[in-house]
Amino acid sequence: MTLAIALFDNFWVLLTVKLLAVVLVLIGFSLVIIYAELKIMAHMQARIGPWFAGGRYGWAQPLADALKFLQKEDLVPLEADSPVFRIAPAVSLMSTVAVFVIVPFSPTLIAEDLDLGVFYALAVGSIGTLGVLMAGWSSANKYSLMGGLRAAAQLIAYELPMVLAAAAVVVQAGTMSMAGIVDAQGPDALFTIPGTDIGLPFVMVGQIVAFVIFMIAALAELSRIPFDMPIAESELVFGYLTEYSGIRFTMFFLAEYAGMFAMSAIATTLFLGGWYFPGLNPSVFGPAVMMAKVSLLVFVMIWVRVTWPRLREDQLQSAAWRYLIPLALGNILVTAVLKVVL
């Protein structure tokens, strides 16, 4: 017992445990999201989807896919810039994993409650695009190059609205700490249902615009339909992923789905009240509440993918700069004024 406590007092041991936990949760939940997407898409499209792998409802399909990818040869094109080509998937996956450090699953279950949590999440999250750009640039393939450049151009379009949308929440909450933001929607809520002490999430008290902008930008960051121009399989074959195979492709693949989880977790924390649900003890039910809210957002993302076609790169730019950024700025203005007045 004392040994265990001593072990957990050690910084390095604790760090390793935390990292392992984050990575395992991440991979586990990504597999769940992949399965959910296969199944939900199938049912929305009058198909059955995975059925045989695992014996029942094809539950083992993501595992089977992962195993298959692991067996594939890891090809590096002869002309490719080999070191960059090899590092790129890791950069992409790393940025997604790093976001999980500040995601609060309950008042105590948080890897590291940084004072600049929101800032950190947005900054680290956009490193992923660097990985995409590296992949596109180093592949020695014109389609990959165009895909990578599109991803870079996309970054310019969505990053500002996303940051501005989050900034409005920060203004309203008065803190950048993720735990603090959840507190401001739950136990220490600024706005409650009159007569009770039930806190309202920010999406219900004025930040609906910011929420929508954030989700649009999140879809763009994740390169998912309707913003999957960097991949655009009907135009660019497979965009920056064209030359990737085997484990490196899997890392990009995982990064996309872990990214869905990460962006949904951030959005849940910022707008939906994180682990807080009135009447449920957060230290027991916190993680479950959080997962339920995250799943809801993930479902919306899948739903959007099934429903909509893809935009063009210039149309995303014009939508972002002409509508989303002014809207987000106006939203900050209104939030700030109301914050002072109320």
Binding site: Q45, M146, E235, W308, R312
Partner: protein, 397 residues
């Protein structure tokens, strides 16, 4: 001591500071292996960033020499060949050819055979257009319409298969009628195989599903803002340009020209039915999409009317056992799902044609691509190419 030369002392970058940075155009090679080229079309595009400066289609990867092959085959054998020209509308390809040969021979096709031909032609048109309605949104990134359209296209293909025995390549037409009375003579006296039992009722049911899937796709895509952004005002073909390039079929009608060979020519009894020729106004990708959507509905209407009116009678006119086509020359054209399909047959009185010139719709429709894609963006290449709805088998023959 040598003199000081200031130009040598300057770093070479300073001497070039006034030179404008040159960004050479990139040559992007789309295809012949590419997800969106409908087969083996190759496009060599000079792109400046994502903007297309110049584009050149390279065709011929699928050339099978059907015109030459037709010179060494008897007329009944050629119907098996022409099936494979535009493989998503195999049945329609046969119609113009057999009609041309029949006219040279002076054969009168019985009414029931004509109606069966007409019903199957329209069902093939429905299946071809449903394929467009599935692949076009997919090329723009929407995956769901594909699943829905293909699901109900399968019902139509099943029916075609039930009658003809082939899903894609029916090879069902015979000179003077339809299978099985091929060759006439003794076979005609045998029990003539007619439409399968229940075919007419099954077709009615399938048509309900086809209309249903059209509404579903309408609800998903037609009013979608993103779909509008991608297709409206993109790839505009003015009516005069369309005619200059010999564009035909739904692509021509999308530009506002109400020209449909089913109304103009009389190769099948289309005059018996009440139907309209849909046409667009702008000539952009969206109009071409809408025209095809409406054509499916019109075809459904034609099929339903034809089922009600189908006469009884023989399936086959009396034809000699050895088919010899009299000397002569004829051009017969028909409205294929992709546009005008025509055969120019020159006969010197033998069992094989002297020469068959095939005018296929996709070949002419494709010819507008270099003009149309100039100045487009790379994503628009796909949007425009998809909206022209060509089949490479139809281009290369």
């Amino acid at each position: 001591m040598t003199g000081f030369d200031p130009t040598l002392a300057m770093h070479h970058s300073e001497t070039q500071v006034s030179v404008e940075l040159q960004t050479p155009d990139m040559t992007l090679n789309l295809g012949p292996q590419h997800p969106s080229t409908h087969g083996v079309l190759r496009l060599v595009a000079k792109v400046d960033g994502e903007k297309v400066e110049e584009i050149e289609p390279v065709i011929g990867y699928m050339h099978r020499g059907y015109e030459k092959l037709a010179e060494v085959r008897t007329y009944p054998q050629i119907t098996a060949l022409v099936n494979r020209i535009d493989w998503v509308s195999g049945f329609c390809n046969e119609i113009a050819f057999v009609t041309a040969a029949e006219r040279l021979m002076g054969l009168e096709v019985p009414g029931r055979a004509q109606y069966i031909r007409l019903i199957l032609t329209e069902m093939t048109r429905i299946s071809s257009h449903l394929l467009f309605l599935s692949s076009y949104p997919l090329e723009l990134g929407a995956a769901t319409p594909m699943m829905l359209a293909v699901r109900d296209r399968e019902r139509v293909l099943d029916l075609i298969e039930g009658v003809t025995g082939g899903r894609f390549h029916p090879n069902f037409n015979r000179l003077g009628g339809v299978k099985p009375a091929a060759g006439g003579g003794a076979t005609q006296k045998k029990l003539a195989q007619d439409l399968p039992a229940g075919f007419l009722q099954d077709t009615r049911d399938a048509m309900v599903h086809v209309l249903g899937v059209c509404d579903e796709i309408d609800g998903l895509i037609t009013g979608n803002e993103i779909f509008w952004e991608r297709t409206r005002g993109v790839g505009v073909i003015p009516a005069d340009k369309a005619m200059e390039f010999g564009v035909s079929g739904p692509n021509l009608r999308g530009s506002g020209v109400r020209f449909d060979l089913r109304k103009v020519e009389d190769y099948l009894p289309y005059g018996d039915f009440d139907w309209e020729v849909p046409a667009g106004t702008e000539g952009d990708c969206y109009d071409r999409y809408l025209v095809r959507m409406e054509e499916v509905r019109q075809s459904v209407s034609i099929v339903l009317q034809a089922i009600d009116k189908i006469p009884s009678g023989p399936l086959q006119a009396k034809v000699p056992r050895v088919i010899k086509v009299p000397t002569g020359e004829i051009y017969v054209r028909a409205e294929n799902p992709k546009g005008e399909m025509g055969y120019h047959i020159v006969s010197q009185g033998g069992r094989v044609p002297y020469r068959v010139k095939i005018r296929s719709a996709s070949y002419s429709n494709l010819s507008i691509l270099p003009w149309l894609l100039k100045g487009a963006l790379v994503p628009d290449i796909i949007a425009i190419m998809g909206s022209l709805d060509f089949v490479l088998g139809d281009v290369d023959r």
